[in-house]
């Protein structure tokens, strides 16, 4: 249910940002998607909102630092907090700079909070339900107003902890060290022992890690060839980057929005007998298997072939104050909007793609003011003492400042070579793209016989290049047949 903050009985949250604010000028807020739909029935909008989920959403009560808030059952806690105008959740380790959600996809550290008894829990991954207790971390007295911020001002450029207080004798050094120890660490030790479910071993022909377009296609092709496929994705839904697309996609000639397209692929995989595990993060690969962690337990997956289709990460932005709360990846802004939360009232978008255009349009339909970066212009820095209050842009005509309360930054996407790398696949520099890729030979093959890479994790060129055609699955299928013939049995 969309929350009407001005309704009687609804909580009024004071937000500190230099001055006290009331809920009326809260910038991040829930979008009344029904009203938006009524006003703008056509065009991009239908591709934007997750109508089914939003229409059926139930409200629940959560607590943040002791304050009662309402949330939608099942939404990421980070969104519940944003919808309540809270974008600052903790303080950084050394400088005590404010930290808030940035990626909304479990890729950063911005949303770490204590959830129930668990320290350092990603609030964009943990879901809302009645009675959840969220606490900010590493801040005194609160994440929004932390006195240790002086560290940040005291060290205007950097902080050389290697040589801190080494010149004044052992006594002073000792005092510094005791202080540093007290300051170290983020959360505190849990008070109780959790008892997760026992790990589960799974044996299969093919393990597919990552269910973006590449992984979806590959898993389907392998299943069609009669192989036993286990497919995992760390997100609760399939689709990878495509799921956050605000554009129309086609399915059998019909126009469908991205999540619908993705869910059709998921249905297809399930119909083919693929064992799909969502919210299941492949965390580590070893010679003899792959360790997958779900919300409940660990899975130990052994496969004849492992296919890494786990896409890319988003790098930090290259501008001053790139870490302020209120700075999101462009994808996170779209993702929040899809789930009915607008990240700001005045949003600067730095991207220039079709997706940025769609996002700008969709945001403007929510009464947000949208600023765009002009051709030739780059973002030099964000402004703000607590969270974002503006941005400085430089271009051919000089410098200009815009005021905004959120930035959707188009960040560099970099191949997620780590998992394949742990399995023994050499990561290499791509000098043209200035990043590292999982090194592969033709048809997704790597220097390890049982490991394949497909999609943007390996590609040298455009990250959306459709290299997940049937050549990769053909080599995976061939290997499985070969090893099955050698060992006799199928898994």
């Amino acid at each position: 249910m969309p929350t009407d903050h001005s309704a009687p009985g609804a909580l009024r949250i004071a937000r500190t940002r230099g001055t006290m604010r009331t809920s009326d000028d809260m910038t991040a807020r829930r979008v009344d998607h029904r009203a938006v739909r009524a006003q703008h029935p056509e065009g991009v909008l239908r591709a934007v909102y997750d109508y089914a989920a939003l229409d059926s959403a139930q409200t629940c009560g959560i607590r943040y630092d002791g304050r009662a808030l309402d949330a939608r059952v099942g939404e990421p806690l980070a969104l519940s907090l944003l919808a309540n105008g809270i974008d600052t959740l903790s303080r950084s380790v050394k400088f005590h700079r404010p930290r808030g959600p940035m990626c909304l996809r479990g890729n950063c550290e911005g949303c770490l909070t204590r959830v129930d008894d668990d320290p350092n829990t990603m609030a964009c991954v943990a879901r809302a339900h009645d009675g959840r207790e969220i606490r900010s971390q590493n801040a005194f007295p609160s994440a929004e107003l932390d006195v240790l911020r002086i560290t940040d001002w005291f060290f205007p450029k950097s902080f050389d902890h290697h040589h801190l207080m080494v010149r004044y004798g052992p006594a002073i050094n000792q005092v510094m060290q005791s202080f540093a120890r007290k300051m170290a660490g983020l959360g505190t030790l849990p008070t109780r022992a959790s008892e997760p479910m026992a790990p589960l071993a799974m044996d299969c022909d093919v393990l597919v890690v990552g269910l973006g377009p590449a992984g979806l296609a590959l898993a389907a092709q392998c299943a069609q060839a009669g192989l036993k496929v286990v497919a995992v994705d760390e997100e609760p839904d399939v689709g990878g980057f495509l799921r956050d697309s605000l554009q129309w996609h086609t399915h059998e000639g019909a126009r469908v929005c991205a999540p619908a397209w993705c869910d059709l692929q998921l249905a297809k995989l399930r119909a083919l007998g693929v064992s799909v595990r969502l919210g299941a993060a492949a965390c580590a690969t070893f010679d003899d298997g792959t360790l997958v962690i779900t919300g409940e337990r660990a899975l130990w997956v052994r496969a004849r072939a492992r296919v890494f289709a786990n896409g890319s990460h988003e790098s930090v932005g290259n501008f001053e104050n790139n870490d302020l709360p209120g700075i999101y990846t462009e994808r996170a802004v779209a993702r929040a909007l899809r789930q009915g939360v607008r990240v700001g009232a005045t949003v600067l978008l730095t991207g220039g793609s079709d997706e940025t255009d769609a996002l700008a349009l969709a945001l403007s339909h929510t009464d947000a003011t949208v600023h765009r970066v002009q051709p030739g212009e780059t973002l030099r820095g964000a402004k703000g003492m607590g969270d974002v209050s503006g941005a400085v842009l430089v271009g051919p005509k000089g410098e200009r400042t815009v005021s905004c309360d959120a930035i959707g930054a188009e960040n560099v996407r970099t191949p997620a070579f780590e998992l394949a790398g742990q399995a023994g696949v050499e990561p290499r520099a791509s000098l043209t793209r200035r990043c590292f890729v999982a090194h592969s030979h033709e048809a997704g093959r790597t220097e390890r016989r049982d490991v394949f890479v497909v999609g943007s994790v390996r590609s040298e060129g455009d990250t959306r290049e459709p290299d997940w055609d049937a050549t990769v699955s053909a080599s995976v299928i061939a290997l499985c047949k070969e090893t099955a013939a050698q060992t006799g049995a199928s898994r």
Binding site: V93, D117, D118, P119, N120, H161, H162, H163, L164, M165, V166, R167, Y168, G169, P170, N173, Q177, A180, R181, K182, A184, G185, L186, G187, T188, L189, P190, T191, R192, A193, S194, E195, P196, A284, F286, D287, D288, G289, L291, W300, G421, Q422, G424, E426, R428, H441, R445, T446, E447, R448, R449, D450
Partner: protein, 419 residues
């Protein structure tokens, strides 16, 4: 780089750097230290940073007591923080036999002047309330033991040695030696591109024996050598840790020590709650809290792969997690952030191999430091410098010479080894 040096040290781990620093302090500054990789790439950059004097042999107790003193002043003397924190070492035993050994060691430690105390399970909880002490037979605690952050220790020695005139060449590997039958006349060196070596270093990517069936044939890459050259030296000091047997082999000297993979991991940073390093002698579990708040620890896992292998295994994670959660149940929802591995350099009698080698006059060894070579280095560096400068052999060096293996004079083994 010059053509000739008074001393060339192979290996810029803590041992090589400490020796270089102490040589320079004695006025011997014509020293070159080479390492095949980056600083901190060997065991010295991969260890748990534990420094303790609780051992079962008097030699170790006395040496490490001195190390603790050095660690205390290291930051202000060398002008770099090493975050030495004396939270003590808490040893746990779970059997009568081990308890008896612990008691005997504690007695010896007390006679050597340590503040070691024996504790019951209940008393353990007064030091770390979070520990489940069920099954703990007896524990010992020395409040003066502690932990350091290993990396800056290396930078501190490197920086100070360089300031005194020592040359340090990383990404430079010894590939062979020329000898005249009695002594080394020159060392053949190869310099690799900085990061090309990392790219090539399969020790961490592929287990040596996993190669056969698992690796595709295209995968063999040439080592990216940029330059090959040679230098000569009056004395060659081998501080190559677990790689030492390989180096000695180039001289047809065979060493009895073997590399033994030892894995370790670190959790998310937590606010301080754990004072001591806790070590369980029944299963090799140990853990402590670092200066940044992470819980860093390891456990024994058998069997280990043959040779130099720095790959991580799931068997380690499984064994460590089980042992740690049993010991501290509230750690169950604490998360592992990073795991890695290094090699212990194991000798048959758990004692190091140091000093000149019979049959090769100007070759000096300093290896076989097991799982406690980091804490030994501050003291051993000084002894090594003295040995090289004075050409005299102390009682300690006589006892720890390689020839004891040929002569069958193995030392009584050290029982307080972790992991």
């Amino acid at each position: 780089m010059k053509k000739h040096y008074r001393v060339v040290i192979i290996g810029a781990g803590i041992m090589g750097l400490s020796a270089a620093y102490h040589l320079a302090r004695r006025g011997i500054t014509d020293v070159l230290v080479i390492d095949r990789g980056y600083l901190c790439g060997g065991a010295s950059g991969r260890n748990g940073g534990g420094v303790r004097a609780q051992f079962s042999s008097e030699t170790n107790i006395r040496l490490m007591r001195e190390s603790i003193e050095i660690c205390r002043d290291f930051a202000t003397e060398m002008k770099i923080n090493v975050w030495f924190r004396q939270g003590g070492y808490l040893f746990l035993t779970r059997s009568k036999a081990q308890a008896a050994q612990l008691e005997a060691s504690a007695g010896l430690q007390k006679r050597c002047g340590l503040a070691t105390r024996l504790l019951s399970g209940r008393e353990v909880q007064s030091i770390v309330p979070e520990i489940d002490t069920q099954g703990v037979e007896l524990a010992s605690f020395n409040p003066d033991d502690g932990v350091v952050f290993p990396w800056p220790f290396l930078w501190g020695y490197a920086q100070a040695a360089e300031a005194l005139g020592v040359e340090l060449a990383t990404f430079t590997e010894v590939e062979g030696f020329a000898t005249d039958g009695k002594r080394i006349t020159s060392l053949a060196l190869a310099r690799t591109a900085h990061d090309a070596l990392a790219a090539h270093d399969r020790a961490e990517r592929t287990s040596a024996h996993g190669r056969g069936p698992q690796l595709a044939p295209e995968s063999h890459t040439e080592r990216p050598v940029q330059e090959r050259f040679s230098v000569s030296a009056e004395t060659v000091l081998c501080c190559a840790g677990a790689w030492s047997p390989n180096i000695a082999k180039m001289l047809d000297i065979s060493l009895p020590n073997v590399p033994h993979r030892h894995e370790i991991c670190s959790t998310e940073p937590l606010k301080p709650w754990l004072g001591p390093l806790v070590a369980d002698l029944s299963n090799g579990l140990y853990f402590s809290q670092s200066a940044r708040g992470e819980i860093v620890g390891g456990v024994s896992v058998e069997p280990v792969p043959h040779g130099i292998n720095q790959r991580s295994s799931v068997q380690f994670l499984a064994t460590y997690a089980q042992a740690l959660v049993r010991t501290v149940p509230s750690m169950a929802s604490v998360k592992v952030l990073r795991q890695w591995a290094g090699c212990y350099d194991l000798t048959p009698d758990q004692s190091p191999i140091v000093g000149r080698v019979d049959g090769c006059e100007n070759f000096v060894l300093a290896c076989g430091f097991m799982g406690h070579g980091f804490m030994m280095a501050p003291v051993m560096g000084r002894h090594l410098a003295e040995h090289i400068a004075t050409e005299e052999t102390s009682a300690l060096f006589a006892q720890w010479n390689l020839r004891r293996f040929a002569e069958g004079n193995l030392l009584k083994s050290e029982s307080m080894i972790i992991g």
